[in-house]
Amino acid sequence: MPENLTVSILIGLCVFYLLVMLLNVGFVAYQHHVRKDRMQVMLWSAVAGLFLIHSIIYGWAAFRLSAAESRVTKAEDELRQKLDGQGGQGAEEARETLKEAQESLEKTRGSLDWMVMPHFLRDFVDWLMGPVTYFVLSVVLFLIFLRFRAFLVDPIVSWAFLSFGLLFSGWAVTDPNFRLIVTKEDNVPIVLLIFTVGFFTWLAFRKGVLNDARLAKGEPPAEKLEEEKVLVWPDLVYTELIAMIVMTFVLVIWAVLLKAPLEQPATSAKAPNPSKAPWYFLGLQEMLVYYDPWMAGVVLPTFIVIGLISLPYIDFNQKGNGYFTFAQRKFAVTTFLFGFVVLWCTLIVLGTFLRGPNWNFFGPFENWDPHKVLPLNNVNLSDWFWLTFGVVFEEGKGWYIRELPGIILVLAYLFLLPPLLAKTIMRPFFIKMGFIRFFLLVNLLQFMAALPIKMVLRWTINLKYIVYIPEFFFNI
């Protein structure tokens, strides 16, 4: 078991909260100088004060703990010297001192226990982060976000969310298991990803919401107010140069601070557990839970690429060029964000932080115990279907009959659903896009939907495969 709190963690948290405090001080300054909103200034000053208090508390704790620890080290050295010295004179005394120092260290450690995030909260988060709730929650949050975007992207609200998130992250780090996984060198990009994706989504929506309001009032979008052309030098190249330098700086610092570990050569006899893909492929790896490798690793990625290539040909909506908007491109933005943020990014986060040994699900505060076993009682559609009718197939025989229900279902999904959609809810699309473009769009959407559909089926009825033909290694 790793220790709850160490000196370095306490110092780290002290610095972290200090930085967050500074962030809030900056926000206060912004409110004061730019917005001149006294109410907000008061509010955020209080928040900054809260962070300062945190910082001070952690700093003080760090000081106490390190003092206690160094007392023990000193006592140990003393004892060793006494033992090495002539005839062990004074060793008894030194031993006593050491014992006292050790006891006081234990006491100090004990007195810091209250600073660790309370267990009920950790248990709750662990529960919340179960695979089903996690995905459903992310979808629901996504929908809520779309629905209440106007409110949520307001800077004050967003800042409040951010501050709360940072406060919570700081607390969470007091848990050793969470710390272990979040501070792992390999996972730093993912932590960055959470914030950058969040920030840019917020930015786009914030501008979109403002523009939508303007458009609703009949005004042109904000972007149209600005000049259309800027100078290559200095406006483009200079900023690019600066960006380049900043990037280099960041990378160098990153490399200096987080050193790559010296590992041993790969061995065929021992695979790391969990074996994880590079972080940007963790979304794909998550698909492997639900689909066969050829499907998750070949077919679906191919469709993603095809989909991305064919975007310009499918997109018939002429609006929204050169400015941010949501209202005018509801379908496009929603579809893209669902695919990118929900199906790609959240799955990466899930794969990184919540998938542990044996690819089992672990809450963020749960210990990654390789011996955890979860039941895997998934059933194939054919088994379920035929068993209800009391029919049992001999192994390896009559797969075409056995798998008929699944095949029909898949074929229906692929070929029956598009015309149905064209007739019903997607009729406007069909009219605007024509036969080929429409079918392409719908098929792409169908492949995108295949993953959540399969997930839901797995969670609800433990469905393993819809079509299961091991004779040809063909499973869907």
Binding site: M1, E69, V72, T73, E76, R80, L83, G88, R95, E227, E228, K229, V230, L231, P234, D235, Y238, T239, L241, I242, I245, V246, T248, F249, V252, I253, A255, V256, P261, L262, E263, Q264, P265, A266, T267, S268, A269, K270, N273, P370
Partner: protein
């Protein structure tokens, strides 16, 4: 909107941002460089440079010339100055001369050259002229041409003369020049020669002076180590070994090993970097000292001429001289002085001058912390490791092959350093932020497990420590020799029989990768026919195992003991006998009261009942030939044979039939004990006889060698008129309670007596593979011993609690449900028996199924059958057959995990389960186990601690951490300590629980078990609770070291330790010695004592040498010059050591002195480096403070135990120590040199008495010497051969000079004509008078021969007369002729005897014969002389009353000729036992010429003659002249 010049962003802001980012980037780059500059190894290397400089300086100071050397150097310098002056003086003159000569030479050469050109030209002209003349046909023209040619010819001859002249002149000039040049060179040579001589005297000093200078930081070095610049030709760089031959094995992938450890461990191969030396670098001289030095230096610096230097300076004030470093400071002064002087005198290169500047010597202090000292220090034992001439040069082996760890790393943590204990771990954590490295599977071995690395190459394991108990001494502290721990672990694994369950095959995919520890096949190879044995051993890649099961056979258990005892024993063996090796299976953490569910509470007891029943009932059946195995096989054989008659069998069936037949043949029906031993001697009736009988038993038990392996509390106090004797041996079981366990019924004395008497007589009947030997005792004797042992009853064994039948049924159900449906099982149990039809069905499917035994025949009880079934299942589950031979488990396979590569088992695959919680609950953690002051004692914190109502045992924090971090060490430690604790708080069905039993490797019971012991038994356990737990932890650690060493890594053949023939023989022999506890009786190895020399020690030794070898010392004066008696013939011993091979006679710890009696001559360097030899058998007193290695003698424990006992008992012929010793097992020192191999082989397999055995006749007269006899061990041929080779190999290795052959030898003394040749030489040596005298002396013998002949003939005649009477016809005729012949012969003989002058044909023939055999005849008379050999040794037919020596007729086959000769000539040099065994006198001293009338010759010749005759004793003794020789004193 139109484009404007307006920029989008504020330029000023952008510039500021740009500026800031640039600064940031610069900072990051600088940071990066700084990081690189401060990489750990760079810091270490930079710091090390200062250390190097300081060490070189100290080294240089050590080499500062002393007064005598200084004088020599002065002398040399004066000489050099002289030759230089001479050279310089001559230089000018010579250079003038040289110049002149050179001019002359050049001139002469030019002239000669000129003339030569002209001459060449004229030669060509002449040739042309001649050709033209000869081609011309016109006569007139021809004439002209002829004249012209002649003229040219004349000119040519003139020129030739001129040229010769010039050439002569040139040569003269040349010679002149060379002569001058040589003169000059001679002067130069003298100078350089003298320079060289001077250099030689100061070279070492100069070398270190230069090194010290080189290692100082100079501008160039500092510059090259600057950040960034250090990428190019920097003095700091990564050092690495590339080990292509020793790749890292990643399962089918081999990755080259790169070891960069030496990047930081920089002093690892330099002997001068000892820890003490490095610590010394931190010392600083006081200010006053430095002030004095400064003054002196100023004076030295000011010197302009050499003479100035010699003027006396200011002496060091007296109060400073006692200060630390005062001596060093004086040296610094001297060194500076010397360098200054050399600067003044010597002119070397500028660089050299700079290096030798006086100011360079500064006495810098470099303070190093403990960590740095360990880091920079030299590797321990450079004679064994690292050094290029050691056995493990680092170039070839690298570091990680032994130490493990990540060799490529150049930082502390990634290198995977492993702390040795908790304090060290804490230090590392604060100094290096140390944490376990999860990126490397094989972290460095912590020091305590370091020896695990050895077994990778040392497959025999014991080869690491072939001599058993070597102790090395470092800084006056004893340390274990390298390898001691892993060897101890190996021995513990061997003794405790771990391999019975866990196979250690040592072979992986067809090659050897580790030690081979496997059970021998059943039946053992020894019992197989030669053909079968050959078959079994035919596959070299899968040879049969060689380890016997460690427990006794249980086949005859029912004859030995009873249910009560078996039940109690299985329940808790250590409660019955605390020191037993048998582990505990019950009452452990997963099956004790507390751990079991309510419905399982009675399971253990019921299971023990079942096992007990199985063992006893199956043993009974086996004795009747009705055990299940046999019955099944017989049935199968019968079935198949019947089938064979009807139709041919298929392959499978044929094999089965063969197998069944083989099995039946190999297990014949045994004879029960009461048939083997039909009658027993009756127990004495009356009290007195009974006491006498018991006394006899106790005496036999004490004296007949039992105590070499066993102990018994009953003889630790005097009793029955016998003194106390207390053995501490525990090779065999402690017999104190043996009476409590015997008897087929509790308290049944008769059966106990019968069994015990038989067992002592021949234990092989009960347990064929026991190590206990056949004792050669008579039934009366063994009965006496048995009766005494049985009279020592201590406390009877309690009967077992009644069995819970329900529990038994439930246990049966668990097994049954595995082989049949639940329903069937339930039905079977309900109906109390296997229904008939089900049985029939089962018999069809599995004819040997155990369930069939549940079919209960009418007259037997269901309960017994159920017990049988459950018992068999339990035995199978616990693997009891891994240690015991149990009927019914003939074909069972080991049940445990093979340990072949456990040492590298992936820790992820170990089931740690909830053991950390268990350990936290049951123990309290202690940082250190051993007291740092005395490692054999527990640390102060290592105590049992009571918290509330729970007493917690101490547990080393180190292992608790290892458990926490899921490391192999943690798992293994806990597995060995409490094997079942991994089941803690786990849901387990009964048969799913862990089954490994709990061993106690130190053979001391656990605290819980101690509670059940009597006070007396407790008192016999050494040490208090804490000590016991510490000892156990230490023993466990040894076992762990061995198990962790099993990594099955294929190492290339040329790196694997491949012992020489001698060494291998020693190793193998040692294993056999250990196996049979030979050292229990015999002393096997003398001690080795290595002393560091110093002048006073050498002087003392030289005194001793003079003393020993003085002419007044008769022993030495009478010595014969034999190698290894009085001269050393081994390898030349190292110059700085004196090595003594011998036995410690006495040791006085307060005076730090010890006396060693040499078993071999010892060589040391006397004055003037002359090697001197002190002969063997001398006592030498040595100071123990100088000891560097000591290996005390090994073995002979029983003898040491018996000597005081025998003296106290006033045993016959044992009144003093030497005599008592000669009654006891002899030491086997130099046995190989003594015994002939084939004799020894035969003797080991079937020992015969050599010396007279002690006997008492009816009158109570005691006779003979030996109180016991070598018993007969069940040595296999291989074992016996190994021992024979061992003895020869040991003596060959330690005495190469004696040149032993083995395994077979040829005795050249036994060649056909050997004695005849010797006789010729002998006769030639004798004078006429001597011959005459000898012939005369032979006369009575010849007379007797004649008499004998006459007697013979008379007898024959009588017989012939009878025959003639009875014969008929032709036969009668023949008989008559024969009778007449005989009468004729008798007449002749009588005639010869009647002659006074004794000159007849017979005597003539005898005289001739004598001449042929004179050598043998005379020498035989030496043997037969009562004052010589015959006094103590029976010589064949010639016997004596008090024969205390061995029979000499064994000698020809037993003794090696060379040894025999040495022995006879100088026995005192071979009499090397501690206080002297019964001494054999020296019959033929070099200085005393005796017995000339018997055998004429020098003493050595006499001794040789005796030897020659001994080698041919049977043949010589049978010579008629010897047969009738009856010397005085013979019986």
């Amino acid at each position: 909107m139109a484009a404007t010049d307006q920029t989008y962003r504020n330029q000023r802001w952008l510039d500021i941002v740009f500026g800031v980012t640039c600064v940031l980037m610069l900072v990051s780059v600088v940071w990066m460089f700084w990081q690189d500059y401060s990489r750990e190894f760079k810091v270490e290397q930079r710091d090390f440079r200062d250390v190097e400089a300081a060490v070189a300086e100290r080294q240089m100071l050590k080499l500062v010339p002393d007064q005598k050397q200084m004088e020599e150097i002065d002398e040399q310098e004066r000489l050099l100055a002289y030759v230089r002056r001479e050279r310089d003086e001559a230089a000018e003159r010579l250079s003038d001369e040289l110049k002149k000569a050179l001019t002359e030479r050049t001139k002469a050469a030019a002239k000669a050259q000129e003339l030569k050109a002209e001459y060449d030209s004229v030669v060509s002209l002449y040739n042309i002229a001649v050709e033209e003349r000869d081609a011309e046909t016109v006569p007139s023209r021809q004439k002209t041409l002829t004249e012209r040619a002649a003229a040219t010819g004349q000119r040519l001859s003139r020129l030739k003369e001129d040229l010769d002249d010039k050439n002569r002149k040139l040569e003269a000039a040349n010679q002149e020049y060379e002569a001058v040049k040589a003169k000059k060179k001679g002067l130069e040579d003298a100078v350089s020669m003298n320079e060289d001589l001077l250099k030689k005297k100061t070279a070492d000093f100069d070398r270190f002076a230069k090194l010290a200078y080189q290692k100082q930081w100079k501008f160039g070095d500092t510059f090259r180590t600057l950040p960034v610049l250090d990428a190019f030709s920097s003095p700091v760089r990564i050092q690495q070994y590339t080990l292509g031959d020793l790749p890292i094995d990643y399962n089918f992938k081999f990755v080259t090993r790169y070891d960069r450890c030496t990047t930081c461990h920089l002093g690892f191969d330099r002997p001068t970097y000892s820890k003490a030396d490095l610590r010394g670098l931190g010392q600083e001289a006081s200010e006053q000292l430095m002030a004095w030095l400064d003054q002196e230096t100023a004076r030295i610096e000011a010197a302009k001429r050499v003479e100035d230097l010699d003027a006396a300076g200011r002496p060091m004030p007296e109060e400073l001289t006692g200060q630390p470093l005062a001596g060093e400071v004086v040296r610094v002064r001297n060194a500076r002085k010397m360098l200054k002087k050399r600067e003044l005198i010597l002119a070397g290169s500028e660089k050299e001058k700079a290096a030798l500047k006086p100011g360079n010597i500064t006495l810098t202090s470099v303070k190093l912390g403990q960590a740095r000292i360990s880091e920079f220090a030299a590797h321990p034992r450079l004679d064994l490791f690292v050094a290029a001439d050691s056995k493990h040069p680092s170039e070839k082996f690298g570091c990680t092959i032994c130490h493990s760890g990540q060799g490529s790393a150049t930082e502390f943590n990634p290198a995977s350093h492993s702390p040795n204990d908790t304090p060290e771990r804490n230090r590392w954590m604060s100094a290096h932020h140390w944490e376990p490295n999860h990126f490397w599977d094989f972290p460095m071995l912590p020091k305590r497990f370091l020896e695990s690395g050895c077994v990778k190459c040392h497959y025999q394991v014991t080869d690491l420590l072939p001599d058993g108990n070597r102790t090395e001494i470092q800084d006056n502290q004893k340390i274990d020799a390298p390898g001691a721990k892993v060897v101890e672990g190996f021995n513990l694994v061997r003794e405790n029989g771990c391999f019975g369950c866990h196979e250690i095959p040592g072979i992986k995919s067809g090659r050897w990768v580790g030690p081979d520890m496997r059970l021998e096949p059943t039946p053992p190879l020894d019992d197989l026919s030669p053909v079968d044995r050959l078959k079994a051993t035919s596959d070299p890649l899968n040879p049969p195992g060689g380890f016997r099961k460690v427990g006794p056979s249980l086949r005859r258990l029912s004859e030995k003991t009873n249910e009560n005892w078996v039940w109690r024993w299985i329940r808790a063996p250590r409660e019955f006998r605390p020191s037993t090796r048998m582990p505990h299976f019950y009452g452990l953490s997963n099956n004790n009261e507390a751990a079991l569910d309510r419905d399982q509470k009675d399971f253990p007891d019921a299971e023990i009942h079942a096992v007990t029943h199985y063992l006893l009932s199956e043993s009974k059946s086996w004795l009747k030939g009705q055990d299940k195995f046999r019955v099944d096989n017989l049935a199968r054989q019968k079935e198949l044979q019947a089938k064979q008659k009807e139709k041919p069998l298929n392959e499978q069936e044929k094999k089965e039939l063969e197998e069944a037949t083989r099995r039946i043949e190999q297990s014949p029906v045994p004879k029960p004990l009461d048939e083997i031993l039909k009658t027993m001697p009756p127990e004495p009736k009356d009290e007195k006889a009974k006491t006498e009988h018991l006394k006899h038993g106790r005496q036999l038990f004490s004296e007949k060698g039992c105590l070499a392996c066993h102990q018994h509390v009953g003889i630790t106090k005097p009793g029955l008129d016998l003194p106390a004797i207390n053995s501490h041996q525990h090779f065999g079981p402690d017999l104190s309670r043996v009476a409590d366990k015997l008897g087929t019924q509790p308290g049944d004395k008769a059966s106990a007596r019968r069994w015990l008497a038989q067992w002592i007589m021949d234990p092989k009947i009960h347990s064929p593979r026991t190590y206990m030997p056949v004792t050669h005792l008579s039934l009366e004797e063994t009965t006496a011993i048995a009766d005494w042992l049985l009279s020592q009853e201590s406390k009877p064994v309690e009967g077992p609690p009644p069995m819970n039948l329900e529990a038994l049924r439930n246990l049966a159900r668990i097994s049954l449900e595995k082989s049949m449906s639940r329903q069937d099982a339930a039905q079977l149990l309900d109906s109390q028996g296997l229904p008939h039809e089900q049985a029939e069905l089962l018999r069809q499917q599995r004819p040997d199924a155990d369930e069939l035994k549940l079919e209960v025949p009418p007259n037997e009880t269901w309960e017994d059958h159920l017990k049988w079934y459950v018992g068999k299942k339990a035995i199978g589950a616990y693997g009891c057959f891994g240690c015991h031979d149990i009927p019914g488990f003939e074909t069972a396979k080991p049940i445990g995990t093979p340990l072949n590569d456990w040492g590298k088992k992936d820790a992820d695959r170990l089931a740690f389960e909830n053991v950390t919680a268990y350990v936290r609950d049951h123990y309290h953690f202690v940082p250190l186990r051993d007291d740092p002051k005395d490692p054999r004692k527990p640390d102060q914190d290592w105590v049992f601690k009571t918290e509330g109502d729970q007493t917690k045992a101490p547990y080393e924090q180190f292992f608790a951490d290892a458990l926490e971090h899921h490391q192999r060490e943690g798992f293994l430690n806990q597995k060995l300590a409490e094997p079942r604790s991994f089941d803690f708080a786990r849901l387990r069905t009964w048969d799913d629980r862990l089954r490994m039993p709990q061993f106690r490797f130190s053979r001391k019971p656990t605290p819980d078990e101690r509670a059940h012991l009597s006070n007396e038994e407790k008192a016999r356990i050494e040490g208090d609770e804490a000590q016991v737990e510490r000892d156990e932890a230490e023993a466990r650690e040894a076992v762990m070291t061995f198990i962790l060493s099993l990594v099955a890594e294929p190492i290339p053949q040329d790196i694997v330790y491949n012992p020489t023939k001698d060494r291998l023989a020693q190793i193998k022999g040692h294993q056999v010695l250990d196996k049979f506890n030979c050292a229990g009786c015999h002393q096997i190895h003398s001690g080795d004592y290595e002393f560091k020399t110093n002048p006073s020690l050498l002087k003392d030794l030289e005194e001793r040498y003079k003393d020993v070898t003085s002419s007044t010392n008769l022993t030495f004066a009478n010595d014969m010059p034999f190698p290894n008696h009085n001269a050393w013939v081994g390898a030349t011993p190292p110059a700085d050591r004196v090595i003594l091979h011998g036995l410690p006679v006495s040791e006085d710890p307060t005076a730090q002195k010890m006396v060693v009696r040499l078993t071999q001559a010892s060589r040391f360097n006397g004055g003037d480096n002359k090697p001197l030899d002190i002969p063997a058998a001398e006592d030498i007193e040595m100071p123990t403070g100088q000891l560097s290695v000591r290996q005390d003698p090994r073995g002979g424990t029983f003898t040491e135990l018996m000597v005081p006992y025998l003296i106290e008992r006033k045993a016959h012929n044992a009144e003093d120590n030497p005599k008592a010793r000669s009654a006891l097992p002899p030491p086997l020192l130099r046995e190989g040199e003594r015994a002939q191999p084939d004799w020894l082989f035969g003797f080991l397999r079937n020992p015969i008495p050599i010396r007279s055995q002690h006997t008492v006749d009816e009158n109570g007269t005691e006779k003979g010497v030996m109180i016991l006899r070598m018993p007969r061990f069940s040595l296999s041929e291989d074992d016996a051969m190994a021992l024979v080779n061992y003895f020869s190999a040991v003596d060959r290795a330690s005495n190469p000079g004696v040149k032993l052959d083995y395994p077979y030898i040829a005795v050249k003394e036994r060649e056909d004509d050997f004695l005849a040749r010797k006789s010729q030489e002998y006769i030639a040596r004798l004078s006429e008078a001597q011959i005459k005298e000898r012939l005369q002396r032979m006369q009575p013998v010849w007379d007797r021969m004649l008499e004998e002949q006459m007697g013979d003939l008379t007898e024959k005649i009588a017989a012939a007369e009878k025959a003639a009477k009875a014969a008929q016809g032709d036969d009668k005729k023949t008989a008559d002729t024969r009778l007449a012949n005989l009468r004729e012969q008798l007449k002749n003989v009588q005639g010869e005897a009647g002659r006074k002058d004794k000159e007849g044909k017979f005597f003539k023939a005898q005289q001739e014969d004598w001449k042929k055999n004179a050598y043998a005849l005379d020498a035989f008379r030496l043997l037969g002389n009562y004052n010589l050999c015959l006094k103590c040794h029976p010589v064949g037919r010639l016997d004596v009353d008090e024969a205390i020596g061995p029979r000499l007729d064994l000698a020809p086959s037993r003794l090696r000729p060379d040894w025999t000769q040495r022995w006879i000539a100088s026995p005192q040099r071979l009499l090397i036992y501690p206080v002297g065994q019964h001494p054999m006198p020296q019959p033929f001293g070099r200085q005393k010429l005796e017995y000339q009338e018997i055998f004429a010759g020098a003493s050595l010749e006499q001794a040789t003659a005796v030897r020659d005759v001994l080698m041919n004793l049977h043949q010589v003794a049978d010579m008629p002249a010897n047969r009738l020789y009856h010397p005085e004193g013979a019986k």
